[in-house]
Amino acid sequence: MEHLSTHTIEKGLEILRKFDDGRFLTSINSCVHCGLCADSCMYYVSMKENAFIPAKKVALIESIYKRYYTFTGRTFPKLIHAKELNGETTAELIDLFYGACTLCGRCNIHCAIGVDIAYLVSIGRAMLAEMGLTPPTLQSTVDAALTSGNNMRIATDDFVETLKWLEEELRDEVNDPDASIPLNEKDRNLLYTLNPREPKFFPLSISAMAKIFYAARESWTISTHMYDVTNYAFFTGNLNEARIIAQRMLDEVKKLNCRELILAECGHGERAFRWEAPNYLQTNFDFPVRTSVELLAQYIASGRIKVDKTLMKEKVTLHDPCNLVRSGGIIQEQRYILSKTVTDFVEMNPHGADNLCCGGGGGQLSMSEYNERRMKIGELKAEQIKKTGASVVVSPCHNCVDQLLQLNSYYKLRVKIKTLAELVAEALVLE
């Protein structure tokens, strides 16, 4: 790493000072360096590199914090191995915090003490972002969202054209000329968001959701101005950019005056808007925010849509997205949906809040420089899938779906990867 200017270093340290809250303070002071977290980290388990132990990541940010902000670190730096923030430590931070962590938070759950390791990594990323040291590959995804309104730089005309085509397909499928995919309609019950991967690569998942909305006779709409559920600035750690993206979504809900915001199947999108955005924007949302997973479960439970589980003949397993499950608390809903839409369901081991990350989280899918590591850690997920013997893997997250598709090809799993909406649409009984 090249020499860092004093100004750059001060910007990084300012973030550490700014984040000096209780959650940060306790986590930075609690690690006892027992190393028992190693086996909970996919990077360490799959590559056995000591640098990847979660405690090592904690030690790194702890050493910098203590060097500048504690009596012991300032007076006896060698005693606690307090390090200065310089080119060397910065290079280490970039490699470990961006390149060797998916922010899955599995280490938090298993830490003997309860250190919030993922939070410390997030703060480390915020520090690097403030210093202008976000990996360019990841930053380009954020830049795309900031400049074009979605992270795939899909032009509005192309987006509208895709949705119009899908609308025609829907009309043919349900044999109803009035079936529609409503765009920019005001005063609807639901504003539905999308992951830009859907219009770009997986339009069938939009069709699936449109068909479900049709069956539920839902009053809904999609905005062509702001539909992107993702917020990659959550991964870069740049809170100002995260705030801009979140504000756009909030403005769109207000502009269209919809009663509820439904977040598409996207783990980090759900986390970034439902849980983090109110804090980015320092405001309480005065409208409900739910995921499509919760909505689908409600439709089925209330009898608003009818599904026939016997239509799915194959063995199905579920991949839990870390952000949706561990950091979002949505654990039962997807299982309830599966209990009503498939006959042969098998859990992975471990699953739920203890599930293994697919390897694509934390912005890893955007950072091509870490592709080799990403596929290597994905081997654990591939093995989990193989052990279930399932031929269909369902995941309520487009980011995870993308990684699972790559794992499917790389590890020759020969499985089908689907979203929950696709599965429900297949089991749907139209009356």
Partner: protein
């Protein structure tokens, strides 16, 4: 004059106090330790949780209970069930430390110990000392642990183990070196990693706030 000690008696008291210099040092160390730990407690309170604007899943209360109970269950923690010998050694070592700390107060305030309890305590401390030594040896020889170990880790382990050894010895032979070991440990607690004795509770509290607010904790059985 009535009510005043003669000068000779005052001198005798001072001499006694000087002869028991190790007790004076221990009392001072105890005050420093309590003050240092209080400083950390005040820091925790001063940096208390910032307001979370997102809509809570309203399971924070039960998540806090869960965090300090079932979430600590070794059967639920990979850090425990994948490392049973280390986990048991760590638990016994901590129990031995708490026991030694209680005994320090017993000795400082001259509370009598029954002989039967003494025997039990001695055996337990021997086991705990062995565990502490094993943990230290593991830290020295494990490549993984060396990667994350700093001098503070060695000092902390040595001070706690030395304190337990001296406690064990003091039960049977009242040697002043016990108070030196206790003082060194007390003085070090607020400055080294041993302050996790204070931060541990705050860390688990914050973790439960996070997972409780989002509805992840306590888990619902399915």
């Amino acid at each position: 004059m009535q009510g005043r000690r003669p000068a000779e008696t005052r001198w005798m008291c001072l001499i006694c106090l000087i002869m028991k210099w190790y007790l004076v040092i221990t009392y001072i160390s105890l005050v420093v330790c309590i003050a240092g730990c209080l400083y950390h407690v005040i820091q925790i309170i001063r940096h208390r949780k910032t307001r979370d604007f997102s809509k809570s899943a309203d399971t924070v209360g039960s998540a806090i209970t869960y965090s300090f109970t079932k979430a600590m269950n070794p059967a639920r923690k990979e850090s425990a069930y994948l490392h049973v010998p280390t986990y048991i050694a760590g638990m016994l070592y901590h129990l031995g430390t708490f026991l030694s700390a209680v005994l320090l107060f017993v000795f400082l305030f001259s509370i009598d110990l029954y002989r039967t309890i003494e025997l039990f305590i001695s055996v337990f401390l021997m086991v705990s000392i062995l565990c502490g030594t094993a943990i230290l040896v593991k830290r020295i020889f494990s490549k993984l642990l060396r990667e994350i170990t700093v001098i503070d880790d060695y000092i902390s382990n040595i001070l706690v183990t030395a304190f337990q050894v001296c406690t064990l010895v003091y039960i049977h032979f009242s040697l002043p070196v016990y108070y030196i070991a206790a003082s060194a440990l007390l003085l070090y607690i607020p400055f080294g990693k041993l302050r996790h004795a204070v931060y541990f509770f705050a860390a688990r509290y914050y973790l439960s706030l996070f997972y409780g607010h989002r509805g992840t904790w306590p888990p619902i059985k399915h």
